[in-house]
Amino acid sequence: MDQKQLVEQIVIPILQVLIAVAVVPLIILYLQLVERKVLGFMQVRLAPRRVGWHGLLQPVADAVKLLTKEDTIPAKADRFLFTLAPIVAVATALSALAVIPVAGTPFSLFGYEVKPWISDLNIGVVYLLAISSLGIYGILLGGWSSNSKYSMLGALRSTAQMISYEVPLGFALIGVMMLAGSASTVRIVEAQKSSGWWYILPQIIGFFCYFISAVAETNRVPFDLPEAESELVAGFHTEYSGMKFALFFLAEYTNMIVVSSIVTIAFFGGWLRPFPNVEALAWLENGWVPLMSLVLGAFAGWLAGNHLGGGLNPLMVGALLGALLGFGIAVADLGGLATMSVPLLSGAFWFTLKVSFFLFVYIWFRGTYPRYRYDQLMQLGWKWLIPLSVGNVIVTGLVMLLLGRT
């Protein structure tokens, strides 16, 4: 193995892993702030605004608090498993990031080829499903080893929920794998480009099954029974504090990001722009600088707007300012930085935009829906989602057979 191969196959992936492990927690800290902001606005109140400008330093304060808090272990807890549980939860959640492609085109750095994904497994989707089923061990062990009734109940609920929802989760993705003819995450997106439409169109039922099961799989509202705070104090992490609690927290939010990424990759064309084969819409791909400034401007306007009196106007003003700035940058073409057609950056922009939207949907659900009752949860999983997703696989197969595409 010569040096080039060595660097491309070992050194660069290791660096990518380090970057992912360092960057994702930072993203999550701010995701938490956005979550609190969105929830606050949905409840017509002010969200955190004390620490920093519009609360922008709140995540830092939270992180310092969590890191310096006393780390208690209950006297009757199983110390080894109690410590192991958050590590399992976080390790499985972070390792799922390995097969997520952020953009489509490899680029070269110092003469070496760097791919915008850590690994392109040919069984990528299966790997993701396997890893997410392992993640449940973190919750189960944490709940069991705490030696507390509430933790135990939370862990039991979580186990039942995972067993019920793992099945439709897998079946919903089988339809996509059949259409793409591959289980590799990169291939699935490339297949969507060659077929000319996102798989949300042929697989809309699969998408609904997948997204609902995924919300249940990540233990988020309205399926947050394992940590139902009005019933079980805090569910499986009742006894956890300090850094160990922070790790569970990190695992939950990493899972949210992973699930949003899979939805984006499998159903919404990953890094592709909308209608990837329509030439008339090529500006969606090339004009990523103005588009990104438009989105960021609208976001900033929306963040600040609630305090200025609310309404759609601050959002519009922000979007307009952002768009003008973006067009300015694009026209001026500052130092080649904003060169209009960088497929890598425009791909990353579209991918991030779609993932952000699904993260917003998570928070939106949390602001809207009350928690399911336990039997309702089981009913939804077994009586609706599993038959629907199995039916989806059968219908997809039949249609593919009739159209003669195998």
Binding site: V38, G40, F41, M42, Q43, V44, R45, L46, R49, R50, W302, G305, N306, H307, G309, G310, G311, L312, L315, W364, G367, T368, Y369
Partner: protein
């Protein structure tokens, strides 16, 4: 006679009902409501920095006041508020005036720990032109010691001193 409960559906045919539940209509309606609410102006305030406007009838701590024109004590030490108080939180000590006519206050204490802010003490107060005891608009009464909640005459007249809170 009006019937309280769910408003009658305008169209409750079985087909519409089935469509409703298949298309998850109610879930979409819920999402739309929360989406809209994001763009409403906030109705909460950042409390210590800004405060909400109180209603004129807001009942804060009961306090005493002077005559608005000549600045004399209004209270005639009739003990009516002490008698009517359901919590027994008012404690009055009075003495005969030196000129032999009527009584005057020696001390007047209200225990804010027991007070339930009902305002019943204000109703029987016989003084003119204003009642001597009244429900003020003060509500910032936190303290570090229980003794701080027994308000002497001076506090009742001047209001609770703003406190320096420990960091």
């Amino acid at each position: 006679m009006s019937v309280v409960g769910r408003p009658a559906r305008r169209d409750s045919s079985p087909i519409m009902d089935a469509l409703r539940s298949i298309l998850l209509l109610e879930l979409w309606v819920g999402l739309w409501v929360t989406l809209k609410n994001q763009f409403r102006p906030h109705i909460t305030v950042e409390y210590p920095k800004e405060t909400v406007e109180l209603s004129p009838r807001f009942r804060g701590t009961p306090r005493l006041r002077f005559h608005p024109e000549n600045g004399e004590e209004l209270c005639i030490a009739c003990h009516l508020c002490e008698v009517v108080c359901p919590d027994d939180c008012i404690h009055i000590v009075s003495e005969k005036k030196p000129d032999g006519k009527g009584k005057r206050l020696v001390s007047f204490e209200i225990n804010y720990e027991r007070c339930c802010f009902c305002g019943l003490c204000v109703d029987p107060c016989p003084t003119k032109p204003l009642t001597a005891i009244y429900m003020s608009h003060d509500y910032e009464m936190a303290d570090y010691k229980r003794e701080g909640f027994v308000a002497p005459l001076k506090t009742l007249l001047d209001g609770i001193e703003p406190k320096e809170y420990k960091e």
